[in-house]
Subunit: 465 residues, 4 copies
Amino acid sequence: MNVSFFQELLNSIAERGRLLLERSPDGVGGGALQELASALLSGRGEASGVALAGEILSVYRRAEDSEKIEFFRYLLDELRPDQDKIAAAAQAYLVVATSKTLTELETAVVSPRQEFFRRLNLAPGATGCIVAMRADLIALLPQAPELAPVDADLMHLLGSWFNRGFLVLRRIDWSTSASTLEKIIEYEAVHEIRGWEDLRRRLDPADRRCFGFFHPSLVDEPLIFVEVALTSEIPGSIQELLTAERETEAVTNPETPTTAVFYSISNCQKGLQGISFGNFLIKQVAEDLAKEIPSLKTYVTLSPAPRFAAWLVRTTNEDAPGPDDAETLTLLEDPSWAAHAQQHESLNQFLIPLAAEYFLKAKTSYGKPVDPVARFHLGNGARLERINWLGDKSAKGLRQSHGIMVNYLYDLKDIESNHEAYINEGVITASKSVRSLLKSADKSKNNKKRKEVEMPENATVEVNE
Amino acid sequence: MNVSFFQELLNSIAERGRLLLERSPDGVGGGALQELASALLSGRGEASGVALAGEILSVYRRAEDSEKIEFFRYLLDELRPDQDKIAAAAQAYLVVATSKTLTELETAVVSPRQEFFRRLNLAPGATGCIVAMRADLIALLPQAPELAPVDADLMHLLGSWFNRGFLVLRRIDWSTSASTLEKIIEYEAVHEIRGWEDLRRRLDPADRRCFGFFHPSLVDEPLIFVEVALTSEIPGSIQELLTAERETEAVTNPETPTTAVFYSISNCQKGLQGISFGNFLIKQVAEDLAKEIPSLKTYVTLSPAPRFAAWLVRTTNEDAPGPDDAETLTLLEDPSWAAHAQQHESLNQFLIPLAAEYFLKAKTSYGKPVDPVARFHLGNGARLERINWLGDKSAKGLRQSHGIMVNYLYDLKDIESNHEAYINEGVITASKSVRSLLKSADKSKNNKKRKEVEMPENATVEVNE
Amino acid sequence: MNVSFFQELLNSIAERGRLLLERSPDGVGGGALQELASALLSGRGEASGVALAGEILSVYRRAEDSEKIEFFRYLLDELRPDQDKIAAAAQAYLVVATSKTLTELETAVVSPRQEFFRRLNLAPGATGCIVAMRADLIALLPQAPELAPVDADLMHLLGSWFNRGFLVLRRIDWSTSASTLEKIIEYEAVHEIRGWEDLRRRLDPADRRCFGFFHPSLVDEPLIFVEVALTSEIPGSIQELLTAERETEAVTNPETPTTAVFYSISNCQKGLQGISFGNFLIKQVAEDLAKEIPSLKTYVTLSPAPRFAAWLVRTTNEDAPGPDDAETLTLLEDPSWAAHAQQHESLNQFLIPLAAEYFLKAKTSYGKPVDPVARFHLGNGARLERINWLGDKSAKGLRQSHGIMVNYLYDLKDIESNHEAYINEGVITASKSVRSLLKSADKSKNNKKRKEVEMPENATVEVNE
Amino acid sequence: MNVSFFQELLNSIAERGRLLLERSPDGVGGGALQELASALLSGRGEASGVALAGEILSVYRRAEDSEKIEFFRYLLDELRPDQDKIAAAAQAYLVVATSKTLTELETAVVSPRQEFFRRLNLAPGATGCIVAMRADLIALLPQAPELAPVDADLMHLLGSWFNRGFLVLRRIDWSTSASTLEKIIEYEAVHEIRGWEDLRRRLDPADRRCFGFFHPSLVDEPLIFVEVALTSEIPGSIQELLTAERETEAVTNPETPTTAVFYSISNCQKGLQGISFGNFLIKQVAEDLAKEIPSLKTYVTLSPAPRFAAWLVRTTNEDAPGPDDAETLTLLEDPSWAAHAQQHESLNQFLIPLAAEYFLKAKTSYGKPVDPVARFHLGNGARLERINWLGDKSAKGLRQSHGIMVNYLYDLKDIESNHEAYINEGVITASKSVRSLLKSADKSKNNKKRKEVEMPENATVEVNE
């Protein structure tokens, strides 16, 4: 019986990998990965790159955290650009800046790690493994911050590979494969999906949609997905949107919808942190929906306000409490207050103006809105349209934002100017009604009591809204 | 009737593109592309990148050569890294080389052109357009060599995007789409395909195969393809392999084949010049064939010797002609000699030892074999197995190589060592029989008459063997 | 805005359907279906068949049971062959039997219902609706047995349409669509699947397989499916096979399997009752598995004995009970006996010989084995290989068969002769060990006490084994 | 190495087939097919039907015509219904006509050939072979007309299998597989396609379309296809429509089309003769085009008049020639007349009224229009819209119809009533302008001279218009 020559080649290289493992008293970390990585960048890598790359990934998968750190340190220390060459090229450039000296300087500074990862990508299924490798690295960074340059190289490469031009928008529905759907359940970051029946309620009804971006090399793995409800008006409550008790008629024969509501966007791949897809996803989905459903006129989100409660605590000025502050905040401490909210209309009048201040006035040290979801949508050119009282009565919603949810409106004719005003001048575009809340807040006495604090802005936090 | 909001957005941007065009007295080149490119890299590009990128590609397609050069010059001059920043970063690095100063230097030297092309790739179908753009640029380089840095950036980016890990191997046969097949006819660079019936003879019979690499973003466009014949022995003549008069029985019920013959490899995309796929293609196809057809034992090429005739002329030493040189070379001047070759056995004895010398001893200024196809296969780790007399009687074959063809053998157990010996020491691995030709050549007097000349090595010529 | 001309056509016909509905005081049943059916068979059906067929299906779906019966009665009474024509053709044939008089008789007896259903199939998605229509009809037959000829016509047509040559074998695994998978959960008729995690355990592990037959017109709907375990020996217990506590290693890296175990076959479509696919499915799956996994040597089932307990009761001869019968049967009345079965070895010795008798000697009124699963596999040419004590400890298994399960072996070289011996002479092929159980049973005294009763054979019960 | 058990089974049956062949002194016809056919209907067929069916098809493919006739005779004589049983059932039915005696009569008359062909369809790829088998049979019928009952059974079965509900409409364009496209070239029955470039002109331009019906079991084989041009008016000349010299602009950027012109419909499968798809194809394509291109308002054909010249000859009344008949007909004898047609305006005035008579008054012996294409479109409910002078200047067009072409218009609101008027009363719906031609013809003297002859109507000729 024939054994493929090339199968043998693969085997022989795998064999060597195993020998290296056995030789090393300290297991994988004792050098196997390093030796293989070195071989991949050598002449051998040119002849047998596919097999070597496959073997590296196979050994890596079985490695312990400590061995992974050792491997990343090897990449950091050994696969870095040659300092002497850089210095020589830098000096030559400083003597005379020509196209030639610039090219030489560019060449000198490029990290051999990039070529290493490019060759690593030769192995079947490697792209997904490299994304997972970066997820590992990100998790290890707090304990090994010196590895940041390795992460920078990985992010640079992945940013190039996962360019939006290579992504494919796919609808995700009940005819999608179970292996993809279970990832939707797992990755949903905003409003938890409780099992397959809950999932079906978000995908299957005639007035629900879900779309994701996929990369051709990560077949079943969504990169980011958005859940959409088709409605006849802008909704204010996530629980009403997701209730299991919707009338069957509405589910199977929805009225002609006028409004597409983006109520959840989740990034899926930790290893692609910092590479942004959400902006493209929303616009592409809006465009496709407009073609499919001519009756749609309004594209809007139903979004959380994840740092509202935290901001409220930090800015509470104990020295100048308002007349009813103490009582009001005490009410909020009882987690069941939302269940009989109608008894507490005062909370509404207390919180909503504060929410307006949180969105329109509170700033991070970078001068951006405190709310990360706001930063995302305003950065996309959307407008803060409405602040909804009791929009999210879930435990998480009450804890993070005292139940507040907001709508961001994507209005074509303003997207570009909103975006530029936001980027260049920090302008937060909001509807009249939201702005008027702030005015009334300014007039009220509650507002005067806020402490001036700067909220931190964690640049790497992904927006899952 | 509904007009998609986002369609409107696209239209409005296209409109502006048109206005720019009209405004500019000099047509497209007068600034439209440049203005759009500048916008793409600005904040507007973040909000409306997809539309802007599409418009740039649309304007570019209609541009004249002179306008394209102007556009590339804009990329060269305006989208280059900031010289002052580079100088500052270079100086800081020379003062102290840390991870931080290195990162800053890396950032400073990166050309904004790369980000420009990455954003350009946002438009639907952009990847193919960018490949075509580089093909334009390569064609313009001779008249505008200063554009080389733009080409370098494009090549860097395309090399990353067209990483072998993203390519898909697909069989090309008679059930492939006509739009792909017509490209096979067009791109075949070695043994011309004369129409659809000729094509069918290479794809459809049970003992023929064709495989290509495809990229997910260039759906119908092969990047490179290889044609394979399944035989029971190593063939020496391309005409016998491709004859239209093969017995039907052999075509539909081939004997169990032992030998896979790679008789033609063609690169398809001028815009991917310098990005090598051939090595991977041969090895992947060999692996897949081995799985499909267990009887295969031998993987071999039937390859041209494209510079043999040129080398022969340049190295002919008129001062010391051999006794029968003059007569022999006169014979070759008659293009019909091959038709009655059996009458000219002397030619065989004259040319074959010279061919051995051409392959084994003649070197370029870089110390590599003169023959570009030899450089390709020896670089892959193959062995020069056999030199075939009258292997290609076509006009092109006679003109380029006096009809000589060779076989390169891919033998698993030696690929890696062959490759390393070739790369590190310039060793040309050849079979005993080929080496013995050289010995007999060394002993004959013809050989002593060769002039010592250095043949040029055109680094950018693609191997189409 | 353009409204498709043909959409208008559809609408106008739907409109008429609605008018008919409104006109009729008795709702749908009051004639709408009948009028539409009559139109479909008329000249109008030739011009607008697709639209009329669609409208019939749409009205049918909303009909009540009583209206459906009325509709089927219309098909029975009005769309029957013309009695006078039959009589004339029959007389002509009796006068002289020629090719011509035969053709005329054939034409006269063909029911117009067949043409009706063929035209009904013009509507998009009609095939699935017609299958569902027959499921309705089968459910109504007990209360309207006179409709049997309509059922016969439907079954004749569906048998032709669902010819095995048109079926596609597809693997069902974790990358299959959720809409198909939920049907697997729903249709599994033998060993209940308890939710998605249980399903995954049957599809996803490396040593599990599931295959189904699909029809091109019923995209997501399996017709029949079989679940397979790949093992290293013939298993005797379904609980051991399906346990959730299998070692991970075995699941992801199974030893090279030698045995393919068909442990569940389920028919999915009630409307295809009487049209048999199981025989083809088992043989096709065995063939495909043999190609994929060369180490497989044995193809065997793990099957229930669904009527064993019932047979035991009916044949118990109260007049001549054996010494320990009473006590033994009392043990079985405690449903928890199987949990501590090792304490009741006597049950094993009591039941197993009776099971041998049940399989090898007990006959229906048609002279076939009492056990329907046995009839299925023996009819396929399989051999009764082994009787397993405590093979199924589930409540259903204990209730139906006191926990007995059996293996049927599919051995190539004997399939055809086994089948012929079974069909022609009623021979039940069994292994030596099973036959020896019978001999020991014959010698024991228990056996003499069986009553001679004839068990009924429900010809239309589908085998879900 | 493992040989699939079931592969062995197939081999063993193939072996027997071969033995039968060898045994029989008269080759295949000497009984091998008959023995295998008999086995397929026996108990063995139940156990090993797939293998037996495959073997029959394999032997059949190698059989000579004489052996095929012998095989069909076997089907005729041996696999016919049992005469005694029919007689008994007929008598029972005549005694009393009940549901039971009818069912028994139905069962008795059904030909075992139908079950034979159903089992034959078990083999992989059988459906296509059975279609080809019927094509053979149709070709043999003239020399063996007694085989008509076998053909009737095959047609009955294929009509059921190729029900429109199972057909798939697919667009055929330049991205379709070469293996399908070469069939389009081969099967085009109306306006010959001269090679691949000609084909591309019909498929690739933005204002051209081609659609075909496919059956899931005949993957690459179209059953029927239609070629469509999108225009801004109803065209009168096929040469203008198909010219290779169309302006590029029109080809790539057509004006918004208002008219879909069906200018060629070709049936592809001789073995499906008598099973009509054209009606469904036109209506489905019209519906799909209306959705894709909202600007379309008119659906019309450009059709030949294939029997016009023949009718003209047969009805010429030599006894009463008009004043200019002789001269006019002499002109037509010169095949180059159409090249300088403008010199012969008299021909126009002579022929067009005769064409109106040909379409509106000439009848077959069945009372239908003489023109088969007219029968097809009028039967579909279309209207004869226009008669075009010099519509087809090809040799075939001049020979068959003196260059006349016509347009049939498909107008939604009239399709059903046109169809019914045509079927029930023989009404030929025509536009006012066509009818007025007839009136003027009635008044002219030419018309009075026509002989009254009945044209034959070949019921089995397929419409390729």
